[in-house]
Every structure is written in structure tokens, then in C-alpha cells.
């Protein structure tokens, strides 16, 4: 009976939060943006034929038209197709970066928050260092010396440097949760540390971590685009940054506005969608902020 009651109040809270999210205009715009991007990424083969190699010389730098929605590049290749396929790479990079950030950041945050003391000093010390040093130059160096610059490698490099913010958030919410009486009660009941950490602490810390993940997702795309823009991306995969790199290299950005505009809009759309989504989730779960 008690179990049932607990469940229903839990569900009620959820219903309330979902309702708050549905009423959050900016959050909903973000959600639709993200869904749109995922659909484009999945349906890329249906939407546009992949292009590669060299196009026709006559098709060089064509303005946007019904045939080439976003125009063509200096090789005569369709830009619409490249932007669509670039969505796929972006989502992929984002997911890999997020998984790695979680895999490294959450344990560090949990351990330094729960155990404190020397664990906290070391864990947060490393986090501070990673937050201080300029990340992009470091990633550029690693990408430059890495043997292969496949899109997975780039995603991996971004992922292993995206965890500090996750570690910080996990730690602060772990501290908050650990101060609650029910954790003390769980300790008194003799529940194993591991299961307290995983079941109670992690579950309660998951909301702020999730909000932060959408931000990691957005910034990983900016980083990937920057790395590709500097010519260190995967030469065989379409990515928005790579299109911009080509536009810069060909010197056509001054004459062919469509060359750099569409991939840039795609990056902006991606980042705004995820930022909006995180705002919506944050406000729905934390009504105090939304009133402000």
C-alpha cells in the first residue's frame, strides 16, 4: 500500500514537471529543433544523395536554386547534401562526447563529493586544472599528432576534455544529496556504499547532470566545427566545420555567400536548439528560476 502511494506521488511530480516543460515555449522550440536534427540525421540517405570526390566543373559555385537548394561549392558539389550529412556527423560527435564526459565526469564528481577529504582535493584539483587550461589549443595539438583523424577520433578527443563541468555539477549535487537525512538513514541501515552511491545519490543528482549534458552536446559541436575549420577534421566525413574550412581555403567566402552561410546556420541552429532544450528542462524542474 505504502509502495503504491509512493509511486503515485512520484508520478504526480513527473506529470507536473512534464506539464511545466510543455508550457515552456523556449524549451519546446528547443525540443522540436533537436527532434528535427535527429530526424535529418537518421533520414540523411533518404533526403539527399551523398556526394564525394570532384563534381562537374560547370556546376562550380552555383547559387541556391531548386536543383541545388543551398547552392554548390568550389568543386561543384551540392551543399545541401553536405549540410544534411554533416548533421549526422554532428549528432554522432555529440553523442560520443556526452558518453565520454559522463563516463569520466560522473565517477570523479561522485567520489569527491561522497568521500570528501583527499579524494575531493585530488578530484577537484584535476577538474580545476582542466577548467583553467585553454582546451582548444590542446585539442588542436592532439588532433594534429593523432595518427588518424577519423570522426570518431575527433569525437574521442572532444569527449575526454568535456568532463570537467560534469564532474563539478555531479560533485555539488552529490554534496547536497549526501546532506539529506535519508542518506544517513540508508547508511545506518547498513546498505552498501556502492548501492547508496548508485541508487540514491546518482538518481538524485541526475537532473542537474542532464541539464549540463545538453550544454556539453552544444559545445562539442562548436569544438568539432572549430577543429574541422582549422583543417584537422575527418577528411572523409561531411561536417559543417569542414565545409567552412573548404570555403575559407577556396577563398570563395567573399563572393559565394551561400558557401559559408548554410553550414554556419546549421551550427547555430544546433547550438540554439540544445541550449533552449536545456533552459526548458531547467525551468521545468526548478520552478523557482522560471518565475524570475
Amino acid at each position: 500500500m505504502l509502495e503504491l502511494k509512493k509511486k503515485s506521488s512520484f508520478r504526480k511530480r513527473w506529470e507536473k514537471e512534464i506539464k511545466a516543460f510543455l508550457n515552456h515555449k523556449i524549451g519546446m522550440i528547443g525540443l522540436f529543433g533537436v527532434i528535427f536534427l535527429v530526424i535529418v540525421a537518421i533520414l540523411a540517405p533518404v533526403i539527399a544523395e551523398p556526394v564525394s570526390g570532384y563534381g562537374n566543373y560547370e556546376d562550380k559555385l552555383l547559387k541556391p536554386s531548386s536543383e541545388h537548394l543551398f547552392g554548390t561549392d568550389d568543386m561543384g558539389l551540392d551543399l545541401f547534401s553536405q549540410v544534411v550529412w554533416g548533421t549526422r556527423s554532428s549528432i554522432k560527435v555529440g553523442i560520443i562526447a556526452v558518453i565520454l564526459a559522463l563516463a569520466i565526469g560522473v565517477p570523479i564528481g561522485l567520489i569527491s563529493g561522497y568521500y570528501g577529504g583527499i579524494f575531493d582535493t585530488i578530484g577537484m584539483g584535476i577538474t580545476d586544472i582542466f577548467l583553467t587550461i585553454p582546451m582548444l589549443p590542446l585539442m588542436i595539438i592532439i588532433a594534429a599528432i593523432a595518427e588518424s583523424n577519423s570522426i570518431n577520433m575527433v569525437a574521442f578527443i572532444i569527449g575526454i576534455f568535456s568532463w570537467p563541468s560534469i564532474a563539478r555539477i555531479t560533485k555539488s549535487s552529490t554534496l547536497k544529496v549526501c546532506g539529506m537525512q535519508y542518506i544517513e538513514a540508508a547508511k545506518c541501515l547498513g546498505i552498501k556504499t556502492k548501492s547508496i552511491l548508485l541508487k540514491h545519490v546518482l538518481l538524485n543528482a541526475s537532473t542537474p547532470v542532464f541539464i549540463n549534458l545538453t550544454i556539453v552536446m552544444a559545445s562539442s559541436i562548436v569544438t568539432e566545427s572549430s577543429i574541422s575549420f582549422l583543417g584537422l577534421g575527418d577528411p572523409l566525413t561531411h561536417s559543417w566545420g569542414k565545409i567552412l574550412h573548404n570555403a575559407y581555403q577556396s577563398g570563395a567566402f567573399g563572393t559565394a555567400w551561400w558557401y559559408s552561410l548554410f553550414p554556419s546556420l546549421a551550427i547555430i541552429f544546433f547550438v540554439i536548439s540544445f541550449n533552449f532544450l536545456s533552459m526548458g528542462v531547467r525551468d521545468a524542474l526548478n520552478p523557482r528560476i522560471s518565475r524570475e
Binding site: 583553467t132 585553454p134 589549443p137 595539438i141 599528432i145 595518427e147 567552412l244
Partner: protein, 319 residues
């Protein structure tokens, strides 16, 4: 205060040591070793061994590490593969430009962002606030190279009122003319680099003003009959600035990343553009040296920000 400063500097030294250690091992442990990348594939094995010996790459890693540290202390960052000159000399030619760009950007961003944030936090929910918020979110999402290109396209090519690249016009040196010329070359890069960080300052300050305005001492100030503008700018703004200044330290590290992109787009002769060129030339000593110097600059700027914060908010020292 002296104790706090000492502690902070010690922490900075530890951070720097860990950073360089990390850099050293990342560069050395990568699958492709610098020697292989440096050499022409047509070189013979004996030649390769000789080169490895010349660069000290044949010794055990730990020996290499200590000689790397020793050289670093002497200000020796190795020899550039491409230019065959000491890396330190090359970097020192470029660093002032980067520092100039970043310092000016930092000051303008704070001078514009903090008041904007304070005012929109005060006018929370108003049209002004909503516009500032919308622009800020758009600013965070913008991609630096694209903004740079667009500005170049409009002001450099179409209107032709601002220079299209570089840091100064060759031939002009000395005097007021040089000063104005350098300033003119800075306008577009500073605007580009500002775009993302401005939004951060505005949003942080806005958030903390909203918090501060509900404090008791603000109510006291109001009930004394103090004018609202004086409450806002004299009493609330000082405390509201503390979290913003704290995050400024973190922002500097990210700004270096933005500087690499901005300098590349505007052909600005700083460390960032040098990194871009070194990447295409596979010049590792330059890359490694540039990163170490940039990290050192960021760490020093962080120490300065932290000391500034402690000055603004004496409670920090107690922690």
C-alpha cells in the same frame, strides 16, 4: 592578504607543472611520434636514428622529461622544425599581439557586459531585458569564424572602411599614426572575439543582480529613501559583480580558443594564427611551445583575477 596571494601563486605553479607534464606525455605517447612525422619517408633508417639522437628522442622517456623541464626553466622551448629558429623567439614575436587582442577584448567585454547585465537584471521581464536575453543567447550560439567572415565581407570588402587583415599596415611605424593604424586593425577581431563572451558576462551579471536585489541590505537602502538608481549602481552592483569577476578567470581560458579562430580568420599575427600555421606544417615544437606559453598566460591571468576577487570580496580569503 599576503598569505592568500602566496597560496594562490603556489597553486598556479602546481597547475602549470601538471599542465606541462600532461602536454609532454600526450605529445610523446601519441601513436605517431614526432620524429616519424618530422622526417621524410624516403630517409634511411640510419638517418632517422641520427635525427632521433639529435633531438634527444632516443633516450628513455623519463630522461627526456627531465631535460625538457630543465630546458623549460632556461626558457628554451626547442627549435622549430620549419623555421629552424628557437621556438621561444618566434613565440615572443607573436605573443604581444595576442595579449593585446585579448586584453582589449576582455576590458571592452566587461565594460559593456556588466552594466548591460545589471540594468537588464534590474528591469527583469521588461522588453529591454527580453531583447538583451535573446541577443545574448544568439551570441553564445554563434560560430566565431562565420561572424568573422561576415564582418570582413561587409566592412572589409563591401564598404572597404576597415582593413581586411593583419595587425598593422607595413610602412607605418612610430607615432600617433601607428597607434591609430593598430587600433583600426583591432576593431573587427575584437568585435568577433567579444560576441560569445559578452553574452556570458551579461547573463552572469543579470543572474547575480537578481539575487542581490532581494537581499536585506538592499531593502534597508530602499527604505532609507535612497533613489533606485543609486541603490542599483552603488549598492547592488558591487556585490553583483563578484560572481562575474570569478567566472572571468575561467572565461580567459576559453577566450584563448576563440583567439585561435579569430586570428586565423583575420590573418592576425598572434600565437593563435601561428598555431594554425604550425598545424598545417606539422611543426610540433611550435605547437607544444605555443600551448605552454598560452597556458602560462592563462594561469597568470587567473591568479590576477582571483586576487582581484579577494580584494572585492574579503570573505574569499577565509576559505
Amino acid at each position: 592578504m599576503a598569505k592568500y596571494i602566496t597560496k594562490r601563486i603556489l597553486k598556479g605553479i602546481v597547475t602549470f607543472l601538471i599542465t606541462i607534464t600532461l602536454t609532454f606525455f600526450i605529445v610523446r605517447l601519441m601513436p605517431a611520434d614526432p620524429a616519424t612525422l618530422l622526417m621524410d619517408p624516403r630517409m634511411s633508417e640510419a638517418h632517422r636514428q641520427q635525427l632521433l639522437k639529435d633531438f634527444g628522442l632516443d633516450k628513455p622517456l623519463i630522461v627526456q622529461y627531465f631535460s625538457f623541464l630543465r630546458n623549460l626553466l632556461k626558457g628554451d622551448l626547442g627549435i622549430s622544425f620549419m623555421q629552424k629558429r628557437p621556438v621561444m623567439d618566434i613565440i615572443m614575436e607573436k605573443l604581444p599581439w595576442t595579449l593585446l587582442l585579448m586584453t582589449i577584448t576582455q576590458f571592452i567585454t566587461m565594460a559593456v557586459g556588466i552594466p548591460l547585465g545589471i540594468y537588464s537584471g534590474h528591469k527583469r521581464g521588461s522588453l529591454f531585458d527580453q531583447i538583451v536575453n535573446a541577443v545574448a543567447i544568439f551570441g553564445i550560439s554563434i560560430f566565431v569564424p562565420w561572424l568573422g567572415f561576415t564582418l570582413l565581407y561587409i566592412f572589409g570588402y563591401n564598404l572597404a572602411i576597415l582593413p581586411i587583415g593583419g595587425a598593422h599596415t607595413p610602412g607605418i611605424d612610430g607615432g600617433l599614426e601607428y597607434f591609430l593604424d593598430v587600433g583600426k586593425h583591432l576593431i573587427l577581431p575584437v568585435i568577433t572575439l567579444m560576441s560569445i563572451y559578452l553574452a556570458n558576462y551579461v547573463l552572469y551579471t543579470r543572474g547575480s543582480v537578481i539575487d542581490v536585489l532581494s537581499e536585506d541590505y538592499i531593502r534597508t537602502a530602499r527604505s532609507k529613501g535612497m533613489k533606485e538608481m543609486r541603490v542599483l549602481w552603488k549598492h547592488a552592483s558591487k556585490n553583483a559583480m563578484i560572481p562575474t569577476v570569478t567566472t572571468a578567470g575561467l572565461m580567459i581560458g576559453r577566450m584563448v580558443g576563440g583567439a585561435v579562430l579569430t586570428e586565423t580568420v583575420f590573418a592576425y599575427p598572434g600565437v593563435g594564427r601561428m598555431i594554425y600555421q604550425a598545424v598545417s606544417q606539422q611543426d610540433f615544437p611550435i605547437l607544444q611551445g605555443a600551448f605552454i606559453i598560452l597556458a602560462l598566460s592563462v594561469i597568470i591571468m587567473n591568479i590576477i583575477t582571483d586576487i582581484l576577487c579577494a580584494y572585492l570580496d574579503p570573505r574569499i580569503k577565509l576559505e
